[in-house]
C-alpha cells in the first residue's frame, strides 16, 4: 500500500469512507503537476474531481440536521468523481450500511451524468450538436473499445486510434460506432446466452476502458499473451482518489484511476421510439466463419442504449465500484408483473405473461447473423432483485433534472461496493449489496443464490490473465481477450 493509501486508511478506520474536498466543474489535469513518474504517466493528477457528497453530514461544524444534497441542475456540470465521497453518517441516522450505500448510489449518478455528457464539453441537453450528441465515453479520445486494445496478433494498440476498419464497413464514418461481432458481443458471461428483444433482434454488448486503464495495459504490454507471460509483477490497476492534504497541509491532487464500461444496445426497430433512447449510428461487423460457412458482413444499425455498467477502481475500493444503469422500459420487476402493467417493455411482453415462464434462455442455435430470431422467439425477462432502498428517490431526482433529454429514461439499479476493502480474509471486501445484476447484461444469473447468482465482485474476483499459470488480473476479464 502506498504512503498516501496508508494515510487514508487511518481516516477510513475512524470515519468509514468520509472524504471531502473542494468541488469544481470540468475534467482536466492539474497544471504544472505532471512529473516523469510512472504513476503520473499512467494516472495523472486531475484538477477537478467532483467531490459532491450526498448529504451535508460532513460539514464542519456538524450540522444540526443532516439533509440530503439537493438534486439540482448544478449537478449536471459538477464533473466526474475521481472516487466516492461517502459518509457513514447521513439521512439514515446511525445505519452505516444505508448511509454508505446512499453515498455510493449518489456517486453512481454523478458518474453517469459526467460520462454521458456531450463530448463537446456542453452540459447534457445544451450541446449545439443536437439533442442526443456523442457522449464523453463514446469519444475515442476518452474511452477505447476493447477490440481496439486487444488487437490481432497481439499488436500494440495506440491511444485514440481505432484498429483498421474492415473493408465491408465502407459506410463507416467518424462519429459512428463500430461493433465487431464476437461471441461476447451477443452471448452473456460464461456463454450463458443471448438476450432477444421484442423485435426478435439480439441485444449487443461492448466493453470500453479509460486512458489510465489503457496506459497501464500498454505500459506493461498486457495487450498480448506474450506480454502477459513476461509480466512478472502482480497486476494492480491505478486507483482513483479524491484531492486531499498530507499531514503538513500540502495538497495532494486527485487522480481518476482505471474505469471500464460495459454497455448493452438494442437494435431500434420501426416500433421503437428513438426519442426515448440514447442512440448511436453503428456499423455492425460480423467476420467470416467456417462453420457454418458465411462471408463477412457489415450492416448499418441504429442502436439504443439499454444497459450501462461503469466500473471504477478507487483508493478505498480496490475491488472497484460497480455501478449499473438500465433503460427505464427494459423489464418489469416482480411487483409490476403482479400488477399486470400493460406498458411496452424492451425485453418483456405483458400480454403473454400468463403463458410464458420468465428468464428462460432462447432455444439453440444462437446465430446473430440470422435475424430476427427463429420461430419468432422473444425474451421474456423480469427483474428478480429490487433496487436498493434510496435508489427510487435518487432516480426520481436525477430524472427530474434530466427531463427533456433522453437521459431521463435511464435508472440506476444499484452500486456494489466493498464494505471491508482492507479485509485480510475476504479479497472481495464483503460487497454490498451481495448480489447485483443488470437485466440486459446478467439476465440469466439474477437472484440471491451464493455463487450461482450475479455478484460483480465475487465473479470478477476470479478473473485472470492468460499467463501460465494464470494469475489474478485485478477484477477484470479484459486481459483474457489478449491475442
Amino acid at each position: 500500500m502506498s504512503k498516501k493509501a496508508l494515510l487514508f486508511a487511518g481516516i477510513v478506520g475512524a470515519f468509514g469512507f468520509t472524504m471531502l474536498a473542494g468541488s469544481s466543474s470540468s475534467i482536466g489535469q492539474v497544471a504544472g503537476a505532471a512529473s516523469d513518474s510512472l504513476e503520473d504517466k499512467i494516472d495523472p493528477p486531475v484538477a477537478n474531481c467532483n467531490v459532491t457528497p450526498d448529504s451535508n453530514a460532513n460539514q464542519n461544524p456538524p450540522p444540526s440536521k443532516i439533509v440530503p444534497t439537493p438534486i439540482t441542475r448544478s449537478l449536471l456540470t459538477s464533473g466526474q468523481p475521481c472516487a466516492q465521497t461517502v459518509n457513514g453518517k447521513g439521512p439514515h441516522g446511525n445505519d452505516l450500511l444505508l448511509n454508505l450505500q446512499r453515498g455510493f448510489d449518489f456517486y453512481s449518478w454523478l458518474t453517469f451524468v459526467a460520462l454521458n455528457s456531450p463530448n463537446d464539453g456542453a452540459p447534457i441537453g445544451e450541446s449545439k450538436k443536437g439533442p442526443d450528441p456523442t457522449t464523453v465515453w463514446e469519444d475515442i479520445n476518452n474511452y477505447m473499445q476493447l477490440a481496439d486494445v486487444m488487437l490481432p496478433e497481439g499488436r500494440p494498440p495506440t491511444w485514440g486510434v481505432r484498429d483498421t476498419v474492415p473493408p465491408q464497413c465502407k459506410d463507416f464514418r467518424d462519429g459512428m460506432m463500430l461493433i465487431r461481432m464476437t461471441e461476447e458481443t451477443f452471448n452473456q458471461p460464461f456463454k450463458s446466452g443471448p438476450l432477444i428483444d421484442q423485435n426478435g433482434e439480439y441485444a449487443l454488448f461492448d466493453i470500453l476502458m479509460n486512458k489510465p486503464m489503457f496506459d497501464y495495459i500498454a505500459e506493461h504490454r498486457l495487450y498480448s499473451v506474450q506480454g502477459q507471460e513476461e509480466f512478472a509483477g502482480p497486476i494492480i490497476f491505478p486507483s482513483g482518489s479524491n484531492p486531499t492534504k498530507d499531514k503538513d497541509g500540502k495538497p495532494i491532487p486527485g487522480r481518476m484511476g482505471a474505469i471500464m464500461l460495459k454497455v448493452s444496445w438494442k437494435v431500434l426497430g420501426n416500433n421503437d421510439d428513438p426519442r426515448k433512447f440514447h442512440t448511436v449510428d453503428a456499423m455492425v461487423y460480423t467476420p467470416p466463419s467456417e462453420k457454418p460457412k458465411t462471408n463477412a458482413t457489415c450492416v448499418r444499425r441504429k442502436l439504443g442504449l439499454v444497459g450501462f455498467h461503469a466500473v471504477h477502481k478507487t483508493e478505498f475500493a480496490p475491488q472497484w465500484i460497480w455501478t449499473t444503469f438500465e433503460h427505464v422500459d427494459n423489464v418489469p420487476d416482480n411487483q409490476e408483473v403482479k400488477a399486470r402493467k400493460s406498458r411496452r417493455y424492451n425485453f418483456y411482453n405483458a400480454t403473454s405473461a400468463a403463458s410464458r415462464k420468465p428468464n428462460q434462455l432462447p432455444p439453440q442455435p444462437w446465430n446473430p447473423s440470422k435475424e430476427p430470431f427463429a420461430d419468432h422467439f422473444k425474451s421474456q425477462i423480469v427483474r428478480e432483485i429490487s433496487v436498493t432502498d434510496d435508489v427510487p428517490a435518487l432516480n426520481k431526482g436525477f430524472q427530474t433534472i434530466l427531463a427533456g433529454t433522453v437521459w431521463a429514461n435511464y435508472i440506476l439499479i444499484s452500486t456494489q461496493w466493498p464494505t471491508d476493502f482492507r479485509s485480510a480474509t475476504d479479497p472481495t471486501g464483503a460487497p454490498a449489496p451481495t448480489f447485483l445484476a443488470n437485466t440486459t447484461l446478467e439476465t440469466y444469473s439474477q437472484g440471491k443464490i451464493p455463487i450461482a447468482s450475479s455478484s460483480c465482485m465475487a465473479c470478477h474476483g476470479n478473473a485472470t490473465t492468460q499467463h501460465k499459470p494464470a494469475t489474478p488480473s485485478d477484477f477484470t476479464f479484459t486481459l483474457e481477450k489478449a491475442h
Binding site: 468509514g16 457513514g88 441516522g93 446511525n94 445505519d95 452505516l96 450500511l97 454508505l100 464494505t419 471491508d420 485480510a424 480474509t425 475476504d426 479479497p427 472481495t428 464483503a430 460487497p431 454490498a432 449489496p433 451481495t434 437472484g447 440471491k448 443464490i449 451464493p450 455463487i451 465475487a458 474476483g461 476470479n462 478473473a463 485472470t464 499459470p469 494464470a470 494469475t471 489474478p472
Partner: protein, 214 residues
C-alpha cells in the same frame, strides 16, 4: 427463491438429513468438542455492531451477539460487522428466538457475562434446556444449520448415540456460505470461495485474522 424453502423437507433439507445421519459419529464428536472449546475460550473483545432502529430489538440482538461470541470464540465484530451487508445475525436470532428457553438463556448470560467462566456456566452448569440451546446456537454459527436442542440432548444422553437419528435443517442458502467452520479452518465452503485464482498455492492468513477484531 425464498430462503425459507430450505427449512421444509425440500430436496436440500432431505440431503442434509441424509448427510447428518451418515455423519452421526463425527457430529457427536464435534458437538462435544465444540462445547468444550467454547467453555474454554470465555469472553472475547468485541466492537459495537450496527444498531438497528428498534431499541428493544437492538438490545436483544446485542446480547445475542455477545453470547454468540462467547459460544463460538469468534469476536462479536466478526460475527456482525459494523457495516454488515449479509446480516446473517438476524436470521440466526430469529431462529434461536423460536425456542422456549431463549429468554432464559439470554437472562443467564446477562447475569454472568462479566464472569471469567461464563462459557462454562452456560455450556456445562446450566439447566439442560438452556445448555443444549446454547449448543444449538453454537452449531448454527459454525455450520449454518439448526439442530433442535432436544435432539442434541437426546444424543448426549443416549447410551448408543450412533443409533440416534438427528435431522438438522439448513437455515438458508447464505447460512451455508457463512458457516464459521470454514473460516476457523482458514478455508472456504465447497463451491463458494471469495479467494482469487491460485490462492490454494499460498498460505492462508493467520487464524486470528479470521476470528479476532482488528
Amino acid at each position: 427463491m425464498s430462503d425459507l424453502k430450505h427449512k421444509k423437507q425440500g430436496p436440500i433439507a432431505q440431503d442434509a438429513n441424509e448427510r447428518a445421519i451418515i455423519a452421526l459419529t463425527r457430529r457427536t464428536v464435534l458437538t462435544g468438542a465444540a462445547a468444550t472449546a467454547a467453555a474454554a475460550v470465555g469472553p472475547v473483545s468485541t466492537q459495537a455492531a450496527a444498531p438497528t432502529r428498534n431499541p428493544q430489538t437492538d438490545k436483544q440482538l446485542d446480547l445475542f451477539l455477545e453470547l454468540s461470541a462467547v459460544l463460538t470464540g469468534v469476536a462479536k465484530a466478526k460475527l456482525a460487522p459494523a457495516v454488515d451487508p449479509i446480516k446473517i445475525k438476524l436470521e440466526y436470532l430469529a431462529q434461536a428466538k423460536k425456542e422456549h428457553a431463549f429468554g432464559q438463556l439470554l437472562d443467564l448470560f446477562s447475569r454472568n457475562k462479566g464472569a471469567p467462566n461464563v462459557g462454562d456456566i452456560i455450556c456445562n452448569k446450566s439447566e439442560p434446556n438452556v445448555r443444549f440451546l446454547a449448543r444449538s446456537i453454537m452449531l448454527m454459527w459454525y455450520l449454518g444449520v439448526w439442530y433442535d436442542p432436544k435432539d442434541l440432548r437426546r444424543l448426549a444422553e443416549s447410551p448408543k448415540p450412533e443409533d440416534e437419528k438427528v435431522l438438522p435443517v439448513v437455515i438458508s442458502s447464505k447460512a451455508y456460505t457463512q458457516g464459521w467452520v470454514w473460516r476457523v479452518a482458514q478455508t472456504h465452503p465447497m463451491g463458494a470461495s471469495e479467494w482469487t485464482f491460485g490462492h490454494w498455492a499460498t498460505k492462508p492468513p493467520e487464524l486470528d485474522r479470521f476470528i479476532k477484531s482488528a
